[in-house]
Symmetry: D2
Subunit: 319 residues, 4 copies
């Protein structure tokens, strides 16, 4: 089979390396180049071979039909424009072009919700990791108008350290993270809120989201615990999710609350729903788990590239 040549900008970060690894295992894609300015000349071992990093300025952009940008937030938009001008499609993993961050209206690559707008799209803004976990879990309720109007949905979530990238920072050293746990970006101010609010608004949700992230002493994985005031509760709790995700290869519905371990190294979101006893306001607990580097970043980027390029959506992805 002909493999479509693709490139990765910013390939030395956690998401960038995960992309290169997934591409190496992908039967329909071929890694044409991978850039990493500070590590240029170094080799990255990959399944069945390796790739040598080049400087981003030296990337042979025209050799690729599609380019993934895993450049840092703020630095990515300029390169996305440059690549687009040269021809190749782009899936941008940074927040630069996501709803609420850009004046452009770029298709938002939450694949299960926006698949039709992603088909053949030349440019896709890949979602943040937390929004992926939270929005896929909430969407079936929001679409049905089941979230109580005016209410606050509490989204407490916890992520492994790779969500923060691999630039050396004092607070991410092993000695600081092991045997520890803390909230960060508190007060509903996290960079991922605009894209979540935008999607909720598009789905006609009339509620507020209160998102508080926490840092876990694990390498990978996100677990979101969502408290959702609802207008009513049906006996068959999971039916909205079962209906919406009946044919989705990357959504798992579970009877028991998911653990991070259930989803690590897999391109899935795993969702469970529970009713709540002893409270006057009808309320559902919705739990959602993903691997932040796979379904929350590189895996979903591949999924979006597959959709854009007309490949089978699940091709090359571990489910």
């Amino acid at each position: 089979m002909h493999r479509i040549p693709v490139g990765v900008l910013g390939a030395s970060g956690y998401a960038g390396r995960e992309l290169c690894t997934l591409i190496a295992d992908h039967p329909g894609l071929d890694l044409a180049f991978a850039t990493a300015n500070e590590r240029r000349g170094e080799r990255l071992a990959l399944p069945g071979g390796s790739v040598t990093f080049v400087a981003t300025d030296d990337a042979p952009i025209n050799k690729a039909e599609l380019v993934f940008s895993s450049l840092p937030h703020g630095a990515s938009a300029e390169w996305v424009a440059r690549v687009r001008a040269a021809g190749p499609r782009v899936v941008d993993l940074s927040s630069d072009l996501r709803p609420g961050h850009s004046a452009q209206s770029v298709p938002y690559g939450l694949t299960e919700l926006n698949r039709t707008t992603l088909k053949d799209a030349p440019l896709i803004a890949n979602p943040g990791c937390y929004p992926t976990a939270i929005l896929l879990a909430l969407a079936p309720l929001v679409r049905r108008g089941l979230v109580k109007p005016g209410a606050t949905v509490v989204a407490d979530a916890a992520s492994g350290v790779t969500g923060a990238g691999n630039s050396p920072r004092a607070e991410m050293m092993f000695g600081e993270v092991t045997e520890n746990f803390r909230a960060y970006a508190v007060g509903n101010e996290h960079r991922h809120l605009p894209e979540m609010r935008d999607t909720i608004s598009r789905l006609k949700g009339d509620f507020d989201l209160l998102f508080t992230p926490h840092l876990l002493p694990v390498a990978r994985g996100i677990l979101a615990t969502l408290t959702v005031p609802v207008t009513s509760i049906t006996d068959d709790l999971l039916s909205p999710w079962r209906e919406d995700y009946a044919n989705e290869p990357f959504v798992e519905l579970a009877a028991d609350p998911p653990a991070i371990r259930d989803v690590v190294r897999r391109n899935v979101v795993r969702i469970a729903v529970r009713r709540v006893a002893g409270v006057r306001q009808p309320t559902l607990l919705v739990f959602s788990a993903i691997d932040n580097l796979v379904k929350g970043a590189a895996g979903q980027a591949i999924q979006n590239a597959n959709v854009s390029l007309g490949l089978t959506e699940s091709m090359g992805l571990p489910a």
Copy 2:
């Protein structure tokens, strides 16, 4: 100084061993005996010496003026009655005599809230670890009627594994817990809810508590993230806590959200408060961290014993 002889029933568990260690370092207490049926005859190393476990049936109860029971839930009440009948005071760390678990009305040893009823008390029910973190954080709002009537307070909390005791269980093995995170006892059904509801009710709170615990890959520590709908927000966010806890040696108010690491091996609760942006319902985030084995169990038990026995409340406790 004369040291008051005390004993520990059920001393081989995590809380029991912590108790023995704290007693060994306590200038006013002397460890008269420590029981552990399955490990009887074994020695437990302690600061400045050791103790040899005896069978609970062989405990020289009358040598103690006060006995701590760290026996399992369900097995403790009978021994508490036996010790009381023999004379010594008791601090019971099990849930057997806590509000909602017993028909008896036993003073509830959340020291900072109930100090007057604990003075000279012959029997004290020591609080659960989660209730300690959550109730001390909520009390100043509840007392002032600031929690919105009829609302749901969301209490998402995460604990280290020692909260589950040290009996071998498949799901608590290192290979299952490392690099993992999950909720448990979901649906608002945890054993600690009755004592929390009782205290909220005594403080005239008219709201529902939705408590969801999670298991962290750490040995010790609890972090509770509380979302509290309030009737109003004052500029000086921390003032209710500052007023109520002005003279409390074991309550720390912090500007930044506390980390588990801030409180490990200390008999303190550390609390921070933040207002929330972007939601219509005025809401506060209250964060609360404790060491589940110290302020959440053995340390608070010593604190209660100090109060009961007329010793300085902070004696022998690491703040």
Copy 3:
């Protein structure tokens, strides 16, 4: 392609589950059954499906052409005999039939060393995890007579907890293993020594092995640090390994000492060699890393099954 039906006895342990997972991803094998007495009736999720455990007594042995036994040491031999009597080939992952443990002379499945005796073998004793790491690292020196006669080779090794299986044991609980490290089975008494001595003897090695295992706070992986007194040191340190392993798909030679992370979830052994400064006795340090559940257990078992069944040796294995 026709898939050869295989079964797994003792499939609920760590190695057994890894076997089932690898078989599910194997293009030439089909999982006919998986047994687990205490979990019979439970389903195990696998790539692309699941399997339901049956009791070992109920295993449809005759449906399989080859059976893997991952039953506990001591319990495996009897079942191996029963399966063999019924017809299917067996790869036994227990120690029961390994050299030094059995009067039988069963081909020892250290594939890279014994490939010719494994071809078409109806019964193979799969090596222990530590011997796999240590023997593959030492063999090129031993074969060449380069280890100093009469000397002691010091093999200090450290393993993740899955090497000890998943039966609940107090000393393997998360609270006991996290932030800890210790030696065990000290004094050169580990169960894996007989098979190591047997292989060394077959390779005409005339030296003593001093093996001290340690327990790491990680789930998977073994690192062995071998101190080898040698008769001489050549400039091209790695040449013995390069010559012996030139065409081995599952042996990696590295310039830098391997980390456990380099080999996790892969069916490889990664070896590095360094000369030692400042000692009178010419000495090499040989480092060897494997994933104890893959190359150290289930992966090598598949590799041996491939050889026995005449499949491509690397089929279905992650390198």
Copy 4:
């Protein structure tokens, strides 16, 4: 009691902070100042209070009778000279003045071995963490001439990450260290070797030391596994250690191999000895565990300060 004023240079590193904490709990010392150039103006919480970092240039050196230098290797020697010129005594925790690193002959603060030279000493070079664990374990054999002449003693050791300091480095990030294990500084080239060789030489040892350190996924602790070829083995294995360390408050002899957990947060070295079966060369395994930040750094520095200042040697130290 009068408390002797002391200062700490370089107080924001792991060892420096441990020093400040130990001094705050020390009944005979008073923390006059703590310096940290990059964090000047920040407060460090301490038991019973706090200290505000000042720039090293602004340290009120003359207010102290003794100064601990926890400045980086290479930067410390100059400041030690400056402090000495101004009057105060110095305990230097860097390697700058240790044997093999300096032309000066500075008393080497391995307290148990060199106590007489440390009494009233105005300047003490505090040992490295690995040498503390290894030399205290070997000394009783070396003094008695029991190590086989000309032999190689293999010292494989593993340390927690705090041994590497708290400057942000890519390879010490949580995401790189968790679930990993590797050797470093291999080939017998570690910076701690000169001081170990010097002490062995002073004790008339005629053997070579082969030291290979490893990095553990834990915050604190060192375990050294020493393989020692000996001239003979007596029945009472531990007698040399028992004789030499009979009155040592900070040396523990154990029947079972020590775990890191046994010594964390304590100023002790814990040693166990085992004979080895199945090798021709009579050999002992000696295991040694310390907390690298306490007995391996700050605790031993306090111990040395106590000796220098004429205080009780164990004052203020957790045993």
